[in-house]
Structures are given as C-alpha cells and as structure tokens.
C-alpha cells in the first residue's frame, strides 16, 4: 500500500488526484494503442501516453514507487524486445512472399481484429517507445540526483 504521508513526492492533493486518475490514463493509452489501425493514434501515441502515466507516478510519488512498478532492467528488456518483435514481424512477411508483407487476414473495416499485422506492429512499437521514453526520463532524473551529491 502506498502511503500518502510519505515525505517523498508532492503534496497530498497531487497524490490523491494521481491515485484516482492514473488507472484511467493507462486505460486511455491502451485504447489508443489497440485502435491505432482504425482511428488516429497507434503504437507511438499509445506508447507515449502509457510511458507518461508511469512518469506521472514518478513525479507525484517519487522515483522509488515508480521503479517498483516498472524497474529499469525490465524496461530495457521491453525496449529491445519491442524492436526485435517488429523486425520479426517484418521477417514473417516472407511467408507472404515479400519482406514486410501483411500476411494475415485483413478482416473487415472498423473491426478491432482487422488490418493483419498492423496491430501486432503497433504493439511492438508501443513496447519500444513506451519503455524507451520511460528509460529516457529515468536516466535524466537519476543522473541529476547523482550529480547533486
């Protein structure tokens, strides 16, 4: 359980609002991510929103709470996995004859499961962008703390 009266982070008002909204921000990011092929958005925008929700936790509660939820080792693994997944999807296009071929069933317009590999590519991009942006922020923040000592 997260203690609101912990001295780290911002005041109780910010913490309470963060507690109430953070889940919905995360949900919205996932929505943007999963509907990237039928509405505006996609892997990059969704990844940025999801990364921002973790950055939000870090700003409100301090770095320890955020790193408990998603630590650096895992973010690094997610980042590389995302890129590899994207290349793997591109390689799987050889099943359809050409590199990057959209070999899956395209489906109907405006359905959630349509557009073949684009949804998978979006998820790969999300892993790369989300983890990358979070790592970037963590790197800059932790470096600043280290420099002050």
């Amino acid at each position: 359980m997260i203690n609101n009266r912990d001295s780290q982070g911002m005041s109780v008002i910010v913490k309470t609002i963060t507690r109430l909204t953070i889940g919905l921000i995360l949900l919205y990011g996932v929505y943007i991510l999963l509907h990237g092929h039928i509405t505006p958005g996609g892997g990059f925008a969704g990844g940025v929103i999801i990364a921002l929700s973790f950055i939000h936790i870090m700003l409100a509660f301090g770095k320890n709470v955020a790193l408990e939820k998603l630590n650096q080792t895992w973010s690094k693994i997610f980042e590389s996995t995302g890129a590899l997944l994207f290349i793997t999807i591109a390689f799987l296009g050889f099943f359809g004859g050409v590199f990057f071929n959209n070999f899956l069933d395209k489906g109907e317009h405006f359905e959630l499961f349509s557009a073949g590999t684009i949804l998978l590519s979006n998820i790969a991009i999300f892993l790369k962008v989300g983890a990358g942006l979070f790592l970037l922020f963590v790197a800059l923040v932790l470096f600043k703390i280290g420099g002050r000592k």
Partner: protein
Amino acid sequence: MEHIIPLFVAISLATAFLISLLGSKFKFFRTAFPVISSAALVILSVLSIFLVNNNGLMVYKMGGWIPPIGICMVLDGLSSFMLLTVNLVAFFIMIYSINYVKKYTDVYKYFGLLFLMLAGMNGVIITGDLFNLFVYLEVAAVSSYALVAFGTGRQELEASFKYMVMGTLASGLILLSIALMYSYTSTLNMADIGKSLANEGSSSVIIFISVMFIVGFGLKAALVPFHWWLPDAHPSAPAPISAMLSGVLIKALGVYAIIRIFYNVIGSNIYTSRILLVLGTLSMIVGVIFAIGQYDFKRLLAYHSISQIGYVILGIGLATPLGILGGLFHLFNHSIFKSLLFLNSGAVEYSTGTRDLKKMGGLNKKMPVTGNTSMIASMSIAGIPPFNGFWSKLLIIIACVEANEYIYGLFAVIGSVLTMASFMKVQKYAFLGKLKEKWKNIEEVPFGMKFSMICLALICVFGGLLLLPEISNLLLKEASNAVLIGKEYVNQVLGSV
C-alpha cells in the same frame, strides 16, 4: 535471390537489438556475434555485386506495394559498390574493436550503437525513397553522435555537442529541402521525383532545393566551407569509431547522397558540376594545409579526410566517365587507407596512451606491425606507386586533363604533394628514428587488432588490381555506369516495376 536486398538493413538492426538485449549477460554477444553478423553482411554485399552484374538494376517492393505508392529499395551498381565498401570496413573494425574496447565499461552498448550506425548507412545506400533516406541518415547520425561521446571525457562531450548541433542543422536543411521537393512534385519516391521534374522542366524552386541539398549533405560530408565540426568530432571518438566515421560515414551520408540526388534524381547540369568542382578543390587544398600544422595524430588524419573527400568530389564533379570512375575508386581506396591509419593511431594510443606526435618516436622497433602497416597506408594516401591511392589519384588527374580542366588537375597534384609532406612528418616523428626512453616497455597490440590492420594493408597493396578489366567490369564500371546513366535511372526503376 532478390530477397537479400532488405536484409542489409534488417540483419544489422536485428543484431543491434539482440546485442542490447543479451549483450550484458552473455560474453558471446559482446565478442564473436558482431564479427559473425558483419561477416554475413560482407558476404551478402559480394553476392549483391554478382546479382547486379547479372540482372542489372533491381527494385524491391517493400510489403508488395507498387513503388510510387509504397516504399521501395533499389539495388544498382553504385549501391552494391558502396555496400561492399561500408561492410568491408565495418567487418575489419568489428574484429579490431573486440580488443580495443576492453578499456570501456558497457561494451555491449558500443556494439549496439555501431550496428545501428551500420544499419543507417546500409539503409541510406539501398533505399529508393527520399524521406526514407532522411530517416536512415538520422539513424546513422544519431548513433554516431552517441558514439563520439562514448568516452564521456571533457573533450569527447564537447566535440559530440558541437557535432550534434551541426548535424541537426544539416538534417534540418535536408528535411526542409525534402519538404519543398514534395510540395513541388507531390511524391517522395526518388524515381518518381525524377520523372516529374523531367516533365516540369527547370525552375527557381529547383535551384533553391539544390542549394539546400548541397549545404545539407555538404555539412554531412564535411566539404570545406562546412567542415569545421569534423576535426573535433572525429579525433574525439574511440579509434575504431573514428575509422568508421572518417572511412565510411561521411561518404555514405554525404558523398553517396550527393551523387544519387544530383546525378540520378535532379539530373546533372553544368552549374552543379561546377559547384562540386570548386568545393572539391577547396576541400582538397584547405584540408591538407590545415593538416600540415597538426601534431595531434588523429586530428591530422581528420584534416586529411577533408582533403581526400575533396578528391572524390572533384572526380565526381568532372562528370566524365573517367572522372567518375576515378572518384569512386578513390572513395573506396580512401575508406581502406584512412580506416587503416585511424586504426594505427588507435594502436599507438592503446600501447603508449598518447596522440601527440612529438612525444612518440622510434615506435617501429617495438610495434613492427603497426609501423609497417602505417607506412603502407601513408604511402598509399600520398599517392606513391604501386599502392591503390596512386591509381585513383592518377585517374582523377588524367580525367582533369582530358576534360581540359588543367587548373583543377594542377591543384590535385599540389594537394598530393602536400599530403606526402605531411605523412613524411608523421612517419618521421612517430615510427622512425630513435626509440625514446619512455617507451622501452611498450608492447605490440593484441592479435585481433594486428589481424585487421594487416588485412587492410594487404588491400592497400593490391587495391590497384581492381582496375584490371575483369574485376573493374564487375565492380567499378557497374558503379560508374550507374552514375553516368543519369536520369535514365528513373526509367529503369519505374520500368522494372
């Protein structure tokens, strides 16, 4: 067989991310894996040369989309020639790096960034789409910024910042000219742009775009009015990275893009050739004059890079078959001997810990491999027969005379003489003469470093053989033909869809 075309980018990207995922855990991914992967790339480039020789120009449609709509990759003689150059140098640098980078922490990041840079360069060379070229260019450039700062010392950081500001500005200009080009032709495919420009005819917008392309890619290639970031950035990087930057990066990002855009897409005319001639000559002379006064080994080499890029641009600016052949041949030779020289400087720094020529002396006795290979490379860069540098410079000078551009030919000779003078200084201060007391206990560098230096030196010695008709038809003729066909490129690309 045509499926190997996207592999140049895909393999290097996959290697980069595999290294960054597993490199911190397993030693294999920090040592053998980069070498294996870049060896695969070299084999693929050799394969691509034969492929081009058999089939002519090849277009690969990404994802099965037809080119003006989808993104395509184009493999022609020039591309395969550049791919061979880049991947060959990269292969030797990987072998060299395994021993060299032991002094750094987080070695896997080094190899990851190096492969990202390689992916960017291969992508620039092979792509057939103007915006895609910009993206790959930025991939290569961003990883090179990070690699220049890899040592995180005071000088490295400062050089990297300077390099980054200039590089970003150059990228901005390139993007701006791409935007203008898109507004003028409403397409981004290079062949389609060429077609639509041919229909529209010339206009002042095209001149504006050309000027911005020359400034942008000239900044990337470090031609003389835009050169002043290079002597800071290249010496500050770790030695293998300097070899990579000076040897291939400025060529893949700068010279190749200039050739492709001005000869194949916009179409060459008398003004662009004249501008290239003047810029080339200026770089040639100014670079070597600055180089003579330097006593920092790597800084001297960096100034020579500017000078030698001048030769390449001069040869290409002549726009005669012989001139382009000479320019491209010099491009290949320069990447070999300049990489070798930077590797030599890295070996000297590895053993003695200094880059100052005045503090060295007589190193030949303790480091025979480094000394002799650097002797070969110096003679090669100075244009002494029978090394490869002689043949390409000879071709360029003959081409100048043939084209009745005697002045430029004269400048090329002067540049060559000055180059020889400055490398005699290097040999005298660093390797010949009496061994100083301080360096009694130094040792020759480890095997991997020796191996790649010797291999590069052998290529220097036998590089002239590339001009033999059989090999030349395969490699250099194909490359220079790809440049010479000019706007015919457009028809070939659109015709092969």
